[in-house]
Symmetry: D2
Subunit: 145 residues, 4 copies
């Protein structure tokens, strides 16, 4: 974990995450970022119910991207860090960094969610309580929503 990291975890590259090139499959990085987001919310103590305001709001993903610098090999350990959280009016952008055993960056990713309620979903502002908690963990405001 580096000083600027908001949260990080270490996992092994499991066999089921590799492909026939002998490396972590590029699509798995996205599931791993989401996995870290889930662990982050448990870590800071926001239960599912609280975060979703009793299931009245949810957070569909509207964007995801990754840039891959080096491959991750089967059964090696890696760290994935949540390095930045940017808050729009409705959107939350999470930035991630994957590091190999030597601490070298192997990939950087970002995922953007919007805050919605109802079905069909209607875009709403991030609830104030959630915004405050995220800011107390290093999240920053940005202009665009």
């Amino acid at each position: 974990m580096e000083p600027r990291d908001i949260f990080s975890m270490k996992w092994r590259v499991w066999w089921s995450e590799t492909d026939a090139a002998g490396i972590m499959h590029f699509s798995k990085y996205f599931a791993i970022c989401e996995r870290l987001e889930e662990e982050f919310y448990f870590h800071i103590g926001i239960g599912e119910e609280a975060r979703m305001a009793g299931r009245k709001i949810w957070f569909p993903r509207v964007h995801a991207d990754c840039d891959y610098k080096k491959p991750l090999l089967p059964r090696t350990m890696y760290e994935v860090a949540l390095t930045k959280i940017e808050l729009g009016e409705s959107s939350i952008k999470y930035s991630y960094e994957f590091r190999d055993d030597n601490g070298e960056t192997v990939a950087t990713c970002s995922i953007v969610t919007v805050t919605v309620t109802g079905f069909p979903p209607k875009k709403i502002s991030i609830p104030k309580e959630l915004r405050d908690i995220l800011k107390s963990h290093g999240a920053i405001d940005r202009f665009s929503s």
Copy 2:
């Protein structure tokens, strides 16, 4: 498709289904059997709503198994066939066969579902309409449920 097959499809071994041994990952066979089951029900014209009696019943999996004889290589075509459907009072057992490009059997699998309603789920009999349709496509009765 062999004479005794109830239904079959051909797909390619996609890259995302392989692992670092350079073969189809063993866990993917289960998802593919389920995929064939889905296509089978559309093929015989039982819509989702009809099969689930307007979402009042559903079919959790209680058992799954596969025996692997030979590997499937990336980007080769294979056939997966639904070879048998056995009907209990509440359970449905689907048997599957995977064949490579030469028609050789590479794996055999089976999946068992039970018919339930409500939550927590309560076991019920397979609806008569569904049983009749399945039997018209070759399903057979068996004693155990």
Copy 3:
């Protein structure tokens, strides 16, 4: 398939591709784009061996992104189209569009590969034969590599 599409296929949203929100999981779109790329190369008749020059070259992914506009529901059919191929000196950028049953765009994605040889991988130019074939199927040159 729309006039400007280079290639497209239709698949069903299979159960194993959905998540507990009752929609296609956002990470699956990436595997599906790759799946279409694989089918595209078979479709235009470039065998694995030819494309990889007898396994001497390969195409690691260096970037992937998706923008999600609407969810895809379980068991619905969707179309995924390869809408653009842009060729750099070494890189190939594939652009994709997902459309639901009504032809509405539900997601757009892009994936960038680089052409490398050896291990550790060394960046090389796209082989002329591959470049020519891709251009004959609508690929265009771009400046950056």
Copy 4:
């Protein structure tokens, strides 16, 4: 961890492992058993190279099965335990148990590997060193191979 367990770990049901029924997808249990096997070998200190005798031997899966008793819900913690290892002449059978937060068994699975060398693979005996180490961790002999 129960007294008879050979090894166990706790993980959360991550979103990417769920399906539209709002539960862990049945195919994921197999990947998780394999994941535990990987962690077990690291835990007992058998490096990849040693176990595979410098990549000369490997362990294809020839059988896998699961029985599902109760669903696992998104974001809940569960324990998966390696409860038994049975050694044939060439085969290794691993038995697994999944337990929910209350310690109740939700699924039991088993996976069988064979020991092979070369390509095409030729079945060989489990190396004596590996057999001895596994027995020192509770593995037992069985008659069939």
